[in-house]
Amino acid sequence: MEGHNPALTYFEGAPLRRAVIAFTAFLGGLIFLLAGPAHAGPAECQGLRGTLKLQGQPVNGAKIAVTTEGGQPVKEVTTNAEGTWDVQVDKPGKYKVTLDVSSLPQNAEVRGGNNVRTPTVYEGNCSTVLYALQAKGAANQQQQEGGESSPFWTQAAQLTFEGLNLGLIIALAALGLSLIYGTTGLTNFAHGELVTLGAILAYAFNIGFGLHLIPAAVIAVIVAGILGYLQDRLFWGQLRRRGTGTIAMMIISIGVALFLRYVFLIFFGGQTEAFAQYTAQPGIEIGPISAAPKNFVAMGIELVVLIVVGFALLRTRTGKAARAVADNPALAASSGINVDRVIRIIWTFGGAIAALAGIMLGLSQNLKYTMGQDILLLIFAGVTLGGLGTAFGALVGSLVVGLFIQVSTLWVPPELKSVGALAVLIIVLLVRPQGILGRRERIG
C-alpha cells in the first residue's frame, strides 16, 4: 500500500485543498442558511417544557409538577390538546419534574417506570423534559390497531419518516467507515467514538463557550475533520507503515474505542445532556407526519451532505481516486495515485461527517458518552448490508437499517427494534454474503 513513487503523484495539492475548503465552507453556509427559519421558532425562554405522546398521539390533561431541587414547589401544569406543557422559571439551576402517573390515560405508562426527571435549566434557555410513554401490555395495542386502518397508516408514515431520519444519520457515519475500510482494510471499532466526539465537541462549544449551536456545530465538524487527519497522520498511517496486519489493526481500534469512550466519560460525565438550542420545538404536522422543524432541517442537511459527498466521489478526481484505492490499493498505487494522500483525505472527511452524524444524533436524541458505541452496531449493520467497502452500498444499507428499525416497531416492541435490524443483517448475509451492492470475490 505504501512505498509508492512520489514522482508518480499527479494529483496536485492546490485543487484538493481548495476542494476541502470549499466543501467545509459549503457545509457551514448550509447549516447557517437552513438554520435561519428554525431559529425564529422558539422565542426567548427560560424554563422547562415537553410533549407527551402515546403512539404518536398527543396526551391531553396529564398533570406535571415542577419543584426546585430542594423540593420547593414551582408550578403544576397539565398538558394541552397538543400534549405539550411549559413551565417558565426565574432562576437557572436544577429542577425536579414529576409526572402524575394517575393522570395519564388508562392504557398508558411511562417507559422504564420512572416518572421523575431532574433536568437543568440554563440561563435564557428552555430544556426539554422527556417522558416516553407506551401502551400497557400488548392487548391494548392490538385493540387500537384493529379499530381502524388509518391510524396504522399514519403511524407507518410517521415511523417511515423517523426511520429515514435515523437512516440518514447512520449513513453519514457509515460512509466514512466504509471508505476507511475500503482504502485501508481497517474495520474501525472506534468509529462510534468519532460520532460521540463530534457531538461532545459541539456541546463544548455550545455550552462551554456559549456559542450558538450552529457555529458550534460548524467548528466541531471542522475540528473533528482535523482530528481525523491527525489520527491517520500520527497513528493509523504509522501503523500501516509498520506493516501491521488488518486483524491486529481491528483489535487496536477496539483499544482506541475503549480509550476514547472512557476519556469522554471523565470529561463529559455519565449523564445525558442536550444542546442549548432547538431542544424543545413544538411539532409541526406535514400530512400524516408530525415532527419538530429541526428534524426536517437536519434531514435536509444530511441529505445535501450525502449528495455532495456522493457527487464528489463520482465526479471529482479525488473522489475517483478514493474509489479506485478502495477498490484495489495496489492497482491504484501502480497507476499513479498517491494512496497515502487519498487515505488521509478520507480520514479527514470521514472524521468530519462522523462528527456531523454525532451532532445530528445529539439533536434528535440526547448526548451521552456512549452514544457512538450505541449506534456503532447499526453503522456496521448498514455498511455490511451494503457490502463492506462500497461507499454507495453503505448509503443504501444504512437507509435500510434505519427504516427497518423504526418501521418494525409497528409490530415489535420498541426495546427490541435493534434486535430485528441485527437479525435482518445476519439473514441477508446468509442469502447474499457480499452484501447488497458488494462484488463476489474470485479465488486462485
Binding site: G245, R442, G444
Partner: protein
C-alpha cells in the same frame, strides 16, 4: 488412495510411460474436445459467468489418463477459472464433468481432493506458520487423529502419525526439502514453497494432479528440478494437468496440449505442432495485434490482474522471511499479468 505411490516403483521405465502416453495420442484429431482412448476427466458444457462476462464456456474436453496435459492460452482465457470450477473452488453456472466416471459437478472442494483430484495454486498457499513437516503431514488422508474425540487420546493416532511422518520425510528428501523440515514454511523461498506445495499435494495420494502455473515466480535455477518432479509424477502413474505460460516448458514436458481462449477450448494437439495451428496463432497473435481487445476481454484481464496483485500483496506481506532467504523476485511473466 495410495495406488499412485506404490505403482511408482512397480511401473515400467521412464521411456515406457512416456511412450505409452504418446502412443495414446498418436492418431488423435486436433479438434477441440477430441475423445481420448482412456479419459480420466471428461468435461461437458461448463459455463461460468461473472456479471455480463463469460469467463468459461467449455463444450467438451477430455484428459487422457497417465499423460501430462498442458492447458495454455493467452491472459484472461479463463484457465484458472476453469481450474476453480473443476476442483470445486468456485461454482459453475452450468455443466457436468466426471472424474473416473464419477460426476463431480457441485461436489465441494475438499471432496474433490479426497476423490483423488488435487490441485495447487498459482500463488502458493504454503501454511506459513506451520513447519514444513506439519505442512506435509496435513496432506495425508483419513487421519484418525483428525477426529475430535480420538484426537484427545494420542494412543489412537500415534502409530498412524509415525507412518505419515515417514512418508512425508521420504517425499521431502525427494524434493530436497528435508533440511528444512522443522522450519516454518513462511521462511522458504518462492521456489521452495512451490516444491512444498507439490509435495504436500502428493501426500493426499492423488490420481490427477492439477498444477496452476507451477513455474510462476520460480528462480530459473529451480526450474529444471521442478520440471523433473512434474515428469516424475507421470512415471509414478499419476495424470498431470497443468496451466503454463512458458512454451518452452510446455514443449519440454507435456504429451498433449489444450488451448483455451476467451473461455473456450479452441484447439488441441501435440506440443510440437500446436503452436503452428492456425487457431492458436489467431488466439495469441490475432487477438493481441490485429484486433483491439474486446470489452469483456479487457475486463477479464483487469480482473485477473487485480486478483493476482491483491493475492501477491497479501502473500508478500503475510510472510516473515528468514534472513538470507528472501523470496525470489517474480518472473517477468508474473509481473506482466
Amino acid at each position: 488412495m495410495h495406488d499412485a505411490e506404490t505403482t511408482a516403483t512397480t511401473g515400467g521405465g521412464i521411456a515406457d510411460r512416456k511412450a505409452a502416453a504418446l502412443n495414446a495420442f498418436k492418431d488423435l484429431a486436433r479438434d477441440p474436445g477430441v475423445p481420448k482412448p482412456d479419459p480420466i476427466l471428461v468435461v461437458d458444457n461448463v459455463v461460468r459467468r461473472f456479471g455480463g462476462l463469460t469467463a468459461v464456456e467449455v463444450n467438451h474436453v477430455e484428459v487422457q489418463r497417465g499423460s501430462i496435459t498442458a492447458l495454455i492460452g493467452p491472459n484472461g482465457a479463463g484457465k484458472t477459472t476453469f481450474f476453480n470450477q473443476l476442483t470445486g473452488f468456485d461454482t459453475a453456472d452450468s455443466g457436468t464433468w466426471t472424474f473416473n466416471g464419477r460426476p463431480m459437478n457441485g461436489v465441494p472442494a475438499h471432496k474433490v481432493a479426497r476423490a483423488g483430484m488435487v490441485r495447487t495454486f498459482q500463488l502458493t498457499k504454503a501454511l506459513s506458520r506451520l513447519t514444513v513437516l506439519e505442512n506435509m503431514r496435513l496432506g495425508a488422508q483419513q487421519q484418525k487423529g483428525e477426529n475430535f474425540w480420538r484426537a484427545l487420546i494420542p494412543s489412537f493416532w500415534r502409530d498412524q502419525e509415525e507412518e505419515i511422518t515417514q512418508r512425508a520425510e521420504e517425499l521431502l528428501v525427494r524434493f530436497k526439502l528435508d533440511a528444512k523440515r522443522d522450519d516454518f514454511a513462511g521462511s522458504l523461498s518462492g521456489g521452495q514453497r512451490k516444491l512444498l506445495e507439490m509435495a504436500r499435494a502428493l501426500m493426499v495420494g492423488p490420481e490427477l494432479v492439477m498444477l496452476d502455473e507451477p513455474m510462476a515466480g520460480v528462480n530459473p535455477a529451480l526450474t529444471q528440478s521442478l520440471l523433473g518432479h512434474v515428469k516424475d509424477l507421470r512415471e509414478q502413474g499419476m495424470t498431470v494437468l497443468f496451466v503454463e505460460h512458458d512454451m518452452d516448458m510446455v514443449r519440454d514436458i507435456s504429451d498433449w496440449v489444450i488451448v483455451m481462449a476467451q473461455g473456450a477450448v479452441i484447439a488441441e494437439g501435440p506440443p510440437s505442432t500446436i503452436m503452428s495451428d492456425e487457431r492458436v496463432i489467431d488466439a495469441y497473435l490475432g487477438a493481441h495485434h490485429d484486433a483491439p481487445l474486446s470489452e469483456s476481454e479487457l475486463e477479464a484481464q483487469l480482473q485477473e490482474a487485480e486478483a493476482a496483485l491483491e493475492a501477491e500483496i497479501h502473500e508478500t506481506e503475510g510472510t516473515t522471511p528468514a534472513p538470507g532467504s528472501a523470496p525470489e523476485p517474480e518472473t517477468a511473466e508474473e509481473r506482466q499479468k
